[in-house]
């Protein structure tokens, strides 16, 4: 065994740490919090032997805002705005979780039309989120063009969101018992037209990346996790399904009106980065089909149920969860009655998915760490809360 070598000035501050291999030392590389490929303020402490990763310690918390604590001091309608900012690329999905939790606690049901609007918004948001994933994932691998194509399509989705909620990202549109206001008359035709454009955009990304020789080489067999391990780590969403576990909250515990819709769940079997990518491609296509079905089901009617303007759920506890683009987002609320929750806890899918990072990464190269982190598709707003 080599003894601990003191940090030497290798013309530099490169710290050397003892390596299991006698006669050599490993290098510590601090990736993040300011690194273009960590998708925000995430920090990985890598111990590398040359280019190969021997150990990895993730550090989180740079974006901690104390959202859960803040929720204890806000009324339920104000909490919705805080949930917008958890997973800031799939805001509608987050809103759905909190409003359905409060509705469950109060035992109210939103009108059918509001449910469908919610589903359409959530699925559009899923596509928007996945589009962002394709782009950033390609950037992680050095392909700069897909990002621009995907942003073009995402921009169209956000324009639709703006026409519905008035905001491109932080919508604050879902309400306990319905949605803020009805959609405009041309919403349906506009959505259907957008669906066609999105399908085209997804196909474009598919053609550009999926079968690309270099892409396949960089993703096939990289960061493999088995279905059992994925379940043990508590992974969810596309990351879990890519490992062959067909778990999707939308079909296993259908919420809202998802049980009336027919859609497929893409399930991988290799559990590597390529599967995690391709599952998301197929998932976005399924979302397009969900939107089309939901629009076909739309009927005129109320968009807000007759409840008090300020929600005052009874004392009690409730757990509600929905399928977010990143996985199973849950919220646990303890209420003592009154306008504010006594305690609120979020189960963030990104945070849970991030747990597996070390297992996935050790033994691979530095470049693979970036790709694997990319396929986990974390959003730091949700990890750190």
């Amino acid at each position: 065994m080599t003894e601990n070598v003191a940090p030497t000035n290798l013309g530099s501050t490169i710290i050397q740490v003892p390596s299991p291999e006698p006669g050599t030392v490993d290098m510590m590389v601090n990736m993040g919090p300011q690194h273009p490929a960590t998708h925000g303020v995430f920090r990985m402490e890598l111990r590398v032997d040359g280019e190969q990763i021997q150990d990895l310690v993730p550090h989180i918390g740079y974006l901690h805002r104390g959202s859960e604590k803040l929720c204890e001091h806000e009324s339920y309608s104000q909490i919705i705005t805080l949930f917008d900012r958890l997973d800031y690329v799939s805001n509608f999905n987050n809103e759905l979780v909190i409003v359905s939790a409060v509705e469950k606690l109060m035992d109210v049901a939103p009108p059918p039309r509001a449910e469908l609007i919610r589903i359409i918004m959530c699925e559009f948001n899923r596509i928007a989120s996945h589009l962002l994933f394709y782009g950033t994932f390609a950037i992680d691998m050095g392909a700069i063009t897909p990002l621009l194509y995907n942003f073009r399509d995402r921009e169209k989705i956000q324009a639709l969101f703006e026409s519905v909620s008035g905001a491109r990202m932080m919508h604050n549109y879902f309400r306990v018992g319905g949605v803020k206001e009805d959609v405009a008359d041309e919403f349906e035709s506009r959505s259907l037209a957008l669906c066609d454009e999105l399908e085209h955009g997804i196909d474009e990304t598919d053609r550009l990346l999926t079968e690309n020789e270099i892409f396949l080489e960089r993703t096939s067999g990289i960061g493999v996790i088995s279905g059992e391990d994925a379940l043990d780590w508590g992974l969810s969403g596309p990351v879990l399904r890519a490992s062959g576990v067909p778990y999707d909250v939308r079909v296993d515990e259908p919420y809202s009106r998802y049980d009336e819709l027919d859609f497929g769940i893409p399930v991988g079997s290799a559990g590597d980065c390529w599967d995690r990518f391709y599952v998301r491609i197929l998932e976005a296509r399924e979302s397009v089909s969900i939107i089309r079905q939901a629009i076909a089901l739309m009927e005129p009617g109320d968009t807000m149920s007759k409840i008090r303007r300020i929600a005052r759920p009874p004392a009690g506890e409730v757990y509600a969860h929905c399928e977010n683009p990143r996985g199973d987002l849950g919220v646990y609320i303890v209420s003592e009655g009154g306008e504010r929750p006594y305690r609120l806890k979020v189960r963030p899918p990104s945070f849970c998915n991030l747990q597996a990072l070390r297992d996935l990464t050790v033994g691979h190269y530095i470049a693979d760490a970036v790709v694997i982190l990319g396929t986990l598709d974390i959003v730091l707003g949700e990890v750190d809360r």
Partner: protein, 413 residues
């Protein structure tokens, strides 16, 4: 060396230096515009017509930026590194012919000179990487050293094959042909006036192009300054003018490789010949030389745009895949190319034997690379499960029951 010679040398150097600076500026603009068009953007469009002055604005901005030297940096090496990269990039241009015997120095050992000078740049990258006292720089510098040294070999072997083909190390012979005397017999070796060498040795061209991309550190081989991995590699800690010099060298090298591809494989200034009726075919005439030079630059820019196009399309390889590709595919192939040309010349076979022999080998190697790595044969691992088909979740409340098949020939879906 007479006084006029020295004067001409200085004038040539000065002219070349200014021309190259303008060339680099134009190249950055061209790259940004090309990428923008690929990515459905407008690209630079604010400063000057079509954003043409954007590179000037960038250069001014870089020149006025603070030049930061990290506290722990090895200051001498840190200062010297950009020069070590940029000076060879300039020097290479001394030998490149813009017309018939028109170069700053017409060297009889031009090919040797190119190979010798282009190898120096890697020292600068390694120095910069080491001296910056950043781990990313260190990784980037080491990556650059490994990559550039590996890909130097196929480039040198291909250049050697061309030297064998024209029996000379002079770049003028590469373009204009050569006459050699063996014993009593004189023999005319073809130049590229009629058929460029890209068609004579397609394998050499493909190898040179790929290895050239790697030598430049361009996508898909841009691992030594990979933005998403080592955040700029050896250049992480550089700013201001020092960074600008690195940047200049990068683009100069892109220019060099494009020019080399044109000179070695697409006939430089000579192919296809300017129409005789308009310009005359007197090679010493100024018009012909001017047209030849413009023709050469035009082809160089086309190659450069191709390189940008590749950058806009492909992801990047990983370091081990990159090294494997060099040592297991490109280097053996370049030797095969070398042996083939030697055999063809030794037995005095007609030159069209060269593409006939090497194209099947090239195609076979390409298929072999695909098959050998097995990525194409990846089984379809993702399937879609449907609740309506009862494959997942609770059954649908109003799920369609088993499709009834009535009569023959009317299969359900």
């Amino acid at each position: 060396m007479s006084f006029t010679d020295i004067l001409f040398a200085f004038a040539g150097l000065f002219g070349l230096f200014s021309a190259l600076l303008v060339g680099v500026l134009s190249l950055t603009w061209l790259e940004r515009k090309t990428l923008a068009r690929i990515q459905q953007r407008a690209g630079p469009s604010v400063v000057g017509p079509h954003g043409l002055l954007q590179p000037v604005a960038d250069a001014m901005k870089l020149a006025t930026k603070e030049d930061i030297i990290p506290a722990y940096a090895d200051k001498l090496l840190f200062w010297m590194a950009p020069a070590f990269v940029a000076v060879p990039a300039f020097l290479i241009w001394l030998a490149i012919p813009f017309g018939d015997r028109i170069a700053v120095r017409v060297l009889d050992l031009g090919l040797l000179y190119l190979v010798a000078i282009s190898g120096i740049g890697v020292v600068g990258l390694l120095m910069g990487g080491w001296a910056s006292s950043s781990r990313y720089s260190m990784l980037g510098g080491l990556r650059a050293a490994a990559q550039l040294v590996s890909y130097e070999i196929p480039i040198v072997i291909v250049i050697l094959s061309i030297a064998v083909l024209v029996q000379s190390l002079s770049l003028d012979a590469v373009i204009g042909g050569n006459t050699i005397t063996i014993g009593e017999a004189t023999r005319d070796l073809p130049g590229q006036g009629l058929i460029p060498f890209a068609f004579v040795m397609p394998m050499g061209f493909v190898i040179f192009f790929i290895a050239g991309l790697a030598e430049l550190g361009r996508t898909p081989f841009d691992i030594h300054h990979a933005e998403s991995e080592v955040v700029g590699g050896p250049f992480v800690e550089y700013s201001g003018v020092h960074w600008a010099v690195f940047f200049l060298a990068e683009y100069l090298n892109t220019f060099v490789i494009s020019a080399l591809i044109v000179v070695l494989f697409f006939g430089g200034w000579s192919w296809p010949n300017p129409p005789e009726s308009i310009f005359g075919n007197d090679l010493s005439s100024i018009t012909t030389n001017f047209v030849g030079g413009a023709w050469f630059m035009f082809k160089t820019y086309i190659v450069a745009v191709t390189i940008f196009w590749i950058r806009g399309t492909y992801p990047r390889l990983r370091i081990d895949q990159l090294m494997t590709f060099a040592w297991q595919v490109l280097i053996p192939l370049s030797f095969v190319n070398f042996v083939l040309i030697a055999v063809v010349l030794f037995y005095d076979w007609p030159l069209w034997m060269m593409p006939t022999l090497s194209l099947p080998i090239l195609i076979g190697a390409a298929i072999g690379v695909q098959r050998g790595r097995g990525v194409r044969d990846r089984p379809q691992t993702v399937r879609i499960l449907r609740r309506s088909a009862g494959e997942i979740g609770r059954p649908m409340p109003n799920a369609p029951t088993q499709t009834q098949i009535s009569g023959e020939g009317q299969g359900g879906d």
